[in-house]
Symmetry: C2
Subunit: 705 residues, 2 copies
């Protein structure tokens, strides 16, 4: 798969050809040329059209083959049936990269799908990067490149944006122009035949003009590549994404709880969560966050202070803060004392600091300075209500100066629209985010704080696990050879043992006498389970009895179970009964499972057994491989975590063993790609130990003979 | 308490006096006069100032006493110490209503609080309505009345707005002007010394100029009055509110789960929910909803159809719809066929209907007409991406015409900002809501659909309950006389019986022999509980044994329990043990409680016992009195409701009995205002019956001798 081998040629080309250029204004092939010219492109721009002549004063070349060799970038906007020959010709010219605007490929059905496969193949052979097909193009505001047919032209900025939807590109360009937001790079990904979101992340990571990366995705093309890039990039700069697109995952048959619950959206959420990508639900949030991240430093802690000239909006802001992961900073006594010296007696000296309706810019400036010096304050929101006497622009200047002087994250909420328009422009020019109401400001600061936490977390540790892959592999291979699509019971136990997982003590008893002997050995109470290769659903023949407390009960039930099974299934060979130890005393049931996601591979699930998973959907997810911190996180994120920590003096369960089991599941899922789903259900855990009491695994039918 | 006895005089005054009028521009007393003049007030406007002279050409009266009798409205903006004498004088003139702009009352502390009490008293005596004090004033755009010192002047509209925060009034006026939103009435409530939100709801209900009522509240003044008005009004027109203000309710000591969990915010949520008031979290949502409600008819069902000229935004809209209570309408085969005849082959004929990027206004108009005629379609969202060739204004006209022709709820999402600005103005003038992105549109339609459901629901039924109030009253009176602050056990059982509630069969046994006799009578298994007036926490002396299965166990444990209790508490009189029937077989534990909210009275709580309430906070709330539908609702709203309905073939619990118990709790809470909190915990319920196994009640210390 060709990536951007020459990213500089793609984003900063010296020579650009527009193939399918047109002299007729309004046509796509004309708009691309005029956009390049209007963007002030300094390199060589070559329109290509069989008719020849001139377009916007530029001499037209009539044949692709007449283009210079080693061309940096070709923008292709020709009839669909001409796309493949054009790309072949470009490949022969050793053209470094191209953008295919033309539509009619994967998005129109099977026919287009096959054409697009050929596009990919041509580029692979020629080592040529390709954006599209079916896209709007690419804009690099810093290099005078507007290789798109967009009707709106964005200004420069430090935000990069890529989108899988060309229509959203159009809408956002128009909206951003109105809102005064500029871009460093603006990329319409189209069908992603070659270049995809992971390539963009990779490039934008080292792009000095880009401080924040925004993306709109409907799917991720290559899960592993995406995870790898996203993890690296979001350590360096914030990546904020919208992921949309409902999937028909629910339609697939599922053989376990994990299978039924873990859908594609959970996999995406886990992918974003584990790589530090910030996911938002709508376009406005995307840009609210983008502005905050692009303009202000990250808060060093959760403490927010509100400085306001009015009570009501201050309360709204404080309410929203309390509902977020931020908190209202507790000001130090020194700060409160300084505020008391500064402000009138009827002001509020605690957070929110209400400097009252008659506050002028001098009072704002002084109060902000006092607050900014307080070590408990990690970020500041300045609220202004445009009351009749307020000096709005003067106050804006005071806020801007304070932000510069102290370097603490500063956010303006200048309420209203008309009267604060000039101030809002001042803020935009000075790089202080300004909002019309408190809520989006709080959400932006919260996202920045969470991102700061993510950046600070230690490097992840992926512990090695001792295991016998060969022994487990034999079990699985044997099942596949036999055409089985599930592994249960004895065979599954074998796999658990190979991964060093604790299983309940179990032995086969061939007679009631032997059953009693084994039971005495294990210790009462025990369970009996019918053992017959022909009987897979034991409960159908009432083949399970639990909690047997003495020799008498064991002997009697052994006879009952085996006799009944033989009566009900005369065809079956009855080997006897399994005698099994009962659950650890006072144990909790948990479920640990995984399902293989099409894009991202094994998605692990953790939850408490029974209604917690089934009814309350109280489940956490992680993609494999899990780090030790992930194993801890997947346990502590469920709401019923308190039950595992122990209520009212109960002892906590042994978390370390649980984590080990989760890490083993993660390892197993990676070791055996031909296992589609697996579930330990239940895992019984108490303060002392844990056992995997039951397990089932589903094999990939594709791997079968 | 004086309400608006002459609402017409207040909102549509013929004669208005401005007391504290000033000739100096910029002063509040000048702004009010100039606002009245600028609003085009047609009646008699009388400035009052001791200096006399003229203000804006109007002759000034120097004394309040010289004002005409039966004045409609006086706007008071004088020094704080002059407010009371001014109101006295106005009262004597039989002035019908007034607005006190002056601040410095309840909001500044105890001193101001007492002054404000006198304001209320004066108005009560004089039968004078009063808005404020400490407010911005009132604006009635339809009557040329701007009795405020607002710097921005709103245009006319059919949205009424009242706010407890004057600063928010200022901000919203400025913002609404910028957004082109007008108002019918605009009211700053201030401290609500006389007129409050309930009065406003009452008046605005019959105000023909108002189609939607918006409110910002920090608290509700009189809970019952508010509930009564809100219930009536929201049957007639939508009421949309922001309620902010964090309360210190958590600080109060709580003697039950209900007490610990049921805070003031739950009471407000229940109040809004039960009266059909639509609660939103932020100012932008308030106005997004207001525009939708003020301009479009209510959807008759959940089916939304999206007509779009681009794929990506269509997917975003469909995603958001699927996450809401709306659904993507399934178009009829006839509709799909008509669309297939109309649209190019590469269009999408199912919902979202993608009429493709080259759609012109004619195609939009035809497609919208086809969709609007489909009976499965209850509302329509029209998406437009401003691609280069799009005829944006022409499409806007097509949408507007279709909305008018078919009368189905229609919402435009014209993505972007600059290029769609003219279209957005066309929509505003035509009364079709238009949004920049799909998400707020979906949220608005969802709120309208939910409101439509609320309006359609049948009248509530409040069943009568047979009960012996006297018998229960005696128990409670006796406890109060004795200075007890809790009612437990025997006495509480007495109350349960008076309300016809099922309790476990219980008798006092004075000897082990008697205990066995009683147990044989009840039937095994039984529980034993120490019976001593001095021992309230039975478990402290290990005074409870459950699940005793035979005569031997009962006799032995009777002796153990009584002996241990006597040993551990030599001071206590040991009456013997209570012998009690055990829980119904296979029963679930639920908790039914109430806590008296300061504003709204008894707030009932329902949840499953144990971790469901304590850890998972899976609880539903209702304010008393509960209707039969409320009793059903409080049960079915909890997430663990499925457990009560029965999992995997389990039978459902007897819901009717549960509802009866809840209704009895509601009735009891209303019958005895001196009971602060009560909790039935647990109530044990199976398919067949329910028993209230334990109960405790907390008495109001204020009612004690």
């Amino acid at each position: 798969m060709a990536g951007i081998e020459h990213p500089h040629s793609f984003f900063y080309p010296d020579t650009v050809a527009v193939i399918g250029a047109s002299g007729t204004p309004g046509k796509v092939g004309h708009t691309i040329v005029s956009n390049m010219v209007a963007a002030g492109f300094k390199g060589r721009l070559i329109p290509v059209n069989p008719k020849g002549g001139e377009i916007l004063g530029l001499p037209v070349i009539s044949e692709v083959t007449a283009l210079p060799r080693n061309l940096d970038l070709a923008v292709v906007s020709v009839r669909r049936d001409l796309v493949l020959p054009t790309l072949e010709a470009l490949g022969e010219l050793r053209c470094k990269s191209c953008i295919v605007i033309t539509a009619g490929f994967k998005e129109v059905g099977l026919d287009g799908y096959h054409l697009e496969e050929q596009i990919t193949a041509i580029c692979d052979r020629a080592g040529m990067a390709l954006l599209g097909p079916n896209c709007l193009g690419m804009i690099n505001t810093q290099a005078g490149v507007n290789a798109s047919f967009a009707a709106s032209r964005p200004g420069p900025g430090n935000i990069a944006f890529f989108s899988q939807s060309g229509a959203l590109c159009v809408a956002i360009l128009d909206w951003a122009l109105g809102a005064g937001i500029g871009f460093s790079k603006f990329i319409s990904l189209g069908n992603k035949a070659v270049l995809d979101e992971a390539d963009m992340l990779h490039y934008l990571n080292s792009d000095e003009d880009t401080r924040v990366i925004l993306g709109y995705l409907e799917n991720v093309e290559h899960g592993e590549k995406f995870l790898q890039q996203a993890r690296i990039v979001s350590r360096n700069k914030p990546v904020i994404m919208i992921k949309s697109g409902t999937t028909a995952a629910g339609a697939k048959a599922a053989s376990s709880h994990t299978g039924a619950i873990a859908g594609s959206d959970q996999a995406y959420s886990a992918a974003f969560h584990q790589t530090g990508v910030i996911r938002v639900g709508d376009v406005e949030s995307l840009f609210n966050l983008a502005q905050a991240f692009s303009e202000q430093p990250l808060p060093k802690g959760p403490g927010l202070t509100i400085v306001t000239n009015s009570g009501g909006p201050g309360i709204i802001a404080a309410d929203t803060t309390e509902r977020s992961r931020l908190n209202m900073a507790q000001l130090t006594p020194e700060t409160v004392q300084k505020l008391q010296e500064l402000l009138p007696s009827y002001a509020a000296f605690y957070n929110p600091v209400d400097i009252t309706a008659d506050a002028d810019p001098i009072r704002y400036r002084k109060a902000l300075g006092i607050v900014a010096e307080d070590p408990m304050v990690h970020s500041i929101m300045v609220l202004l209500t445009p009351a009749g006497a307020a000096d709005i622009e003067g106050t804006a200047q005071a806020v801007i100066d304070t932000a510069r002087k102290y370097g603490k994250p500063m956010f303006a909420v200048f309420m209203g629209k008309r009267r604060v328009a000039t101030a809002r422009k001042m803020f935009r020019d000075a790089g202080v985010p300004c909002y019309a109401f408190p809520e989006p400001a709080v959400k932006s600061i919260e996202a920045m704080y969470e991102y700061a936490l993510w950046r600070r977390r230690p490097e992840l540790e992926y512990p090695e696990l001792e295991r016998d892959v060969e022994r487990a592999g034999e079990v699985i291979e044997t099942a596949i050879r036999r055409g089985e699509n599930e592994i249960v019971e004895f065979q599954a136990q074998e796999v658990l043992k190979a991964y060093g997982l604790p299983t309940p003590q179990t032995s086969l008893a061939r007679s009631s006498k032997e059953a009693v002997e084994i039971a005495e050995d294990i210790g009462y109470p025990v369970a009996l389970k019918i053992a017959s290769p022909q009987i897979s659903h034991k409960t159908d023949v009432k083949g399970v009895k639990v909690n047997l407390r003495n020799a008498d009960e064991v002997a009697r039930n052994f006879k009952d179970i085996t006799a009944r099974a033989q009566r009900m299934r005369p065809d079956a060979y009855i080997a006897g009964c399994l005698v099994q130890e009962m659950a650890p005393a006072d144990s909790r049931e948990v479920i640990i499972g995984f399902k293989r996601d099409d894009q991202f591979g094994p998605l692990l699930m953790f939850g408490l057994g029974g209604i917690y998973v089934e009814i309350l959907k109280d489940i956490a997810f992680r993609l494999a491989p899990l780090s030790r911190a992930d194993a801890r996180g997947i346990i502590s994120e469920i709401k019923s975590y308190m039950l595992l920590k122990g209520l009212q003096g109960d002892k906590p369960v042994c978390f370390e063993t649980l984590e080990q089991i989760i890490l083993a599941m993660s390892r197993f899922a990676q070791d055996f790609p031909n296992v589609l789903e697996a579930e330990f259900n239940p895992v019984l855990v108490n303060n002392d130990r844990a056992v995997v009491a039951d397990v089932r695994m589903t094999l990939d039918p594709k791997t079968m003979g």
